[in-house]
Symmetry: C2
């Protein structure tokens, strides 16, 4: 645990170096075990979960702020990030942010902006699950993956953010980029199908799915098969290199 003074210094520094009343929150999607996953953080000393987020530097663009948050939480540099909505109702934090600082033992000034109204720009991120090394930070105990459909309740309006992000992700699914950034380097066709099914929330026809994916001309069939599983070994595929912008 950090010392009181350390946390209070952190708080004060925050108010100077960031744009007031503004934050970014990231809905980080991953795919693992045939299942969409969300990266969530837990408030230190409390049983409250929230989306990874952060404030916006005074000399930092919104996109850069979101990238910085993602880099700190996942270790990845070039993440596929997309702004989807800005949340700016009056009651969206409903005083619960006070609890976060109380939990840390910080007596923040009454008029400090992080305790009052904050407008948050929502981003969703698509990452290769297997490359992510989740990291907690000053204000969080834990940073871990949860299944989208079986996650804890989230703080503030973060559940609404997730729904909004998921809707935006569905829209973008016709572009190969979304799949390319969520899947590992190589994968089988049924695995790719399960990703699409998880995002759309409905089953798809195996044959029609494969046909459409191949017609897009962005997949390359590798001369290997995924062996070891029960039943017939499926082919491995990968996206053409220009789509595989590695998230280092």
């Amino acid at each position: 645990m950090l010392s009181k003074t350390c946390v209070e210094t952190f708080f004060t520094k925050q108010m100077q170096t960031y744009l007031p009343h503004l934050s970014v929150d990231c809905v980080v999607f991953g795919f693992h075990d045939s299942d969409l996953k969300l990266l969530l953080t837990k408030w230190k000393h409390m049983n409250i979960w929230a989306l990874p987020g952060g404030y916006v530097g005074r000399r930092e663009s919104l996109d850069d702020a979101a990238h910085r948050v993602l880099r700190h939480r996942t270790g990845l540099r070039h993440v596929h990030l997309r702004q989807f909505h800005t949340f700016g109702t009056l009651n969206r934090r409903e005083g619960s942010s006070r609890k976060l600082w109380d939990g840390l033992g910080v007596r923040a000034p009454r008029d400090a902006w992080p305790l009052h109204r904050v407008v948050s720009i929502g981003y969703y991120a698509l990452v290769d699950f297997s490359r992510v090394r989740p990291k907690a930070d000053y204000v969080s105990d834990a940073c871990t993956w949860y299944p989208l459909r079986d996650r804890p309740m989230l703080a503030f309006d973060h559940d609404a953010m997730v729904e909004h992000a998921l809707a935006a992700l569905r829209e973008s699914l016709d572009s190969p980029t979304a799949s390319a950034t969520l899947m590992p380097e190589s994968f089988t066709m049924p695995e790719l199908q399960r990703l699409h099914e998880a995002i759309l929330g409905k089953p798809l026809d195996r044959r029609n799915f494969q046909k459409r994916m191949l017609e897009r001309g962005v997949l390359e069939r590798l001369p290997y098969r995924r062996t070891g599983g029960a039943h017939r070994a499926p082919f491995l595929y990968r996206f053409h290199s220009r789509l595989r912008r590695a998230g280092l």
Copy 2:
């Protein structure tokens, strides 16, 4: 023209009553003479045009701020408004906002936030052209309609905002709401078609268009025709009452 002190008071008040570094900008679409129109404001004493915009009150939601801006510029209360993107790069104002205040004869403090970085939430508005009574304000000489395709260059990144808003409008065109809010109470089918053509930027087939519109089941054919024009008089239609949320 306002006196110097009056404008300076306005400036100072602004910094207190609004959330710093934040604004809303509105892309206001209207439809008239078979043509999409934009509502633009001109900076006082300068030949610079911009989107209607404003700052966000400390106790005001983003949506409310956009509604307030629209109410002041158009006189309309219940406008169809939709957030489409938030613009937050570092260079989006490029010092030009200084010129606005210089033009008004205001010597604003160097560290005043309206002279520096501002993050802007973009909204688009769909209004019934015939109901709008454009009004200028403290910082603008003029507030008038311009044809979308033949408009002056806009300040800041406002041209990019217009393109973004137009893309969002195109997306929403399959819902009858967009058409219902842009058209007057009653209209002919060819008029409605010209609206769709203006938004999509391409000609549509008369017969297929009419078929699709009627299949949606939201139009009501009135027992009148538009007379007076040359050629055969077209029928008048209106949207069913639940879609005609009057913008008073």
